[in-house]
C-alpha cells in the first residue's frame, strides 16, 4: 500500500499512511506516514474508543500541511497500553512448507 501512496502522489493526490509497522514503513517510505504503535488491526485504536480514533485521524490529516519533504515519518505519541506481539500464521507464506 505504501507503493500505491507513492504512485498516487505522483498523480496529484496527497496521501497519509497510518501504519502500525514502523520498520516496514521506513523501508517503503510512503510520502507521509504516521506510525501508531498499536497492534496491526488497531491503527486507529480500540473498538468504541471514538476519542482516540478521531485524534489519530486528525493527527494524520495534519501531516498534509506539515510534511516538508516526501518520506516523512512521524510517531503518534500514545502507544498501546499492553504488550503485544506479531506471529504470522497465514497460509500464503506457508504455502511451500
Amino acid at each position: 500500500m505504501g507503493l500505491v501512496c507513492r504512485l498516487l502522489e505522483e498523480h496529484g493526490i496527497a496521501t497519509v499512511y497510518v501504519a502500525t509497522g514502523r520498520d516496514l514503513t521506513a523501508l517503503v517510505k510512503p510520502p507521509r506516514a504516521l506510525f501508531v504503535n498499536h497492534p496491526m488491526g488497531n491503527n486507529f485504536g480500540r473498538a468504541g474508543d471514538t476519542a482516540t480514533q478521531t485524534d489519530i485521524v486528525r493527527a494524520a490529516l495534519a501531516m498534509i500541511d506539515s510534511a516538508e519533504r516526501g518520506g516523512e515519518l512521524i510517531d503518534y505519541p500514545t502507544t498501546w497500553s499492553e504488550k503485544f506481539s506479531f506471529a504470522p500464521v497465514g497460509k500464503a507464506i506457508a504455502a511451500t512448507a
Binding site: M1, G2, L3, V4, C5, R6, L7, L8, E9, H11, G12, I13, A14, T15, Y17, V18, T20, G21, R22, D23, L24, L27, V28, K29, P31, F35, P39, M40, G41, N42, N43, F44, G45, R46, A47, G48, T50, T54, I56, V57, R58, L61, R69, G70, G71, T79, W80, K83, F84, F86, P88, V89, G90, K91, A92, I93, A94, A95, T96, A97
Partner: protein, 162 residues
C-alpha cells in the same frame, strides 16, 4: 513498548518455511504533492488493505497473494455492514468496530464539523498484503485507482494498511 520488528519476524517466518530470503523494497526518497487549498476545502477518501468487504459482497481471500481486487464503498455506508477476512492480523476489534482500521464514521464527523471539506463519494478496500507483482501495481491497478480518485475529485487519501 518498543515497536515490533516486523521485518525480522517475517524474514524468520519465510526462512522457516524454506523460502529464499524476501527482497524488501527499499526507497531512499519519496514524492510529495502539496495541496494549494486548506483541509477545510478538501475531499478526503479512505483506503484499507485489511480484507474488508461489505456483507453483500464476496469475502476477500484471507490467504490471498497478488490480489489486486479493489472494492468501492459508498461514503454513507452503514458502519456495521462489513465483514473482514484476512489471516495475517487480529481483526477481532475491527470486527466489532470497523473504525479501528477504516474510520468512516470519524471522517464523516470531521466533515460535519467542517474540519474537512467532504468525505469523497467512494471509499476503498483493496491492495491486500502479499502483493508480489509490483509492476502490476505500478502499471495497472495503481493508475486505475488514481483515475478513480481523480474522477471523484479526491484531494487526500487516508490509507491504513493491515
Amino acid at each position: 513498548m518498543k515497536s515490533i520488528r516486523y521485518v525480522d519476524a517475517l524474514n524468520d517466518h519465510y526462512t522457516a518455511m524454506g523460502n529464499p530470503p524476501y527482497r524488501w523494497t527499499v526507497n531512499e526518497s519519496a514524492p510529495l504533492h502539496r495541496l494549494d487549498k486548506p483541509l477545510e476545502e478538501c475531499s478526503v477518501s479512505l483506503l484499507t488493505s485489511g480484507g474488508v468487504s461489505q456483507c453483500s459482497m464476496p469475502a476477500f481471500n484471507a490467504d490471498a497473494r497478488n490480489d489486486h481486487r479493489l472494492d468501492a464503498i459508498d461514503r454513507d455506508v452503514n458502519a456495521t455492514d462489513f465483514q473482514i477476512h484476512d489471516s495475517y492480523y487480529d481483526h477481532s476489534d475491527a470486527d466489532n468496530d470497523i473504525n479501528c482500521i477504516f474510520p468512516v464514521e470519524r471522517l464523516r464527523e470531521l466533515a460535519a464539523l467542517g474540519e474537512i471539506g467532504k468525505v469523497s463519494d467512494r471509499l476503498w478496500s483493496g491492495f491486500m498484503g502479499r502483493i508480489y507483482n509490483r509492476s502490476k501495481v505500478l502499471e495497472e491497478s495503481g493508475p486505475d485507482f488514481a483515475a478513480a480518485l481523480r474522477e471523484d475529485g479526491v484531494d487526500i487519501l487516508l490509507a491504513a494498511p493491515s
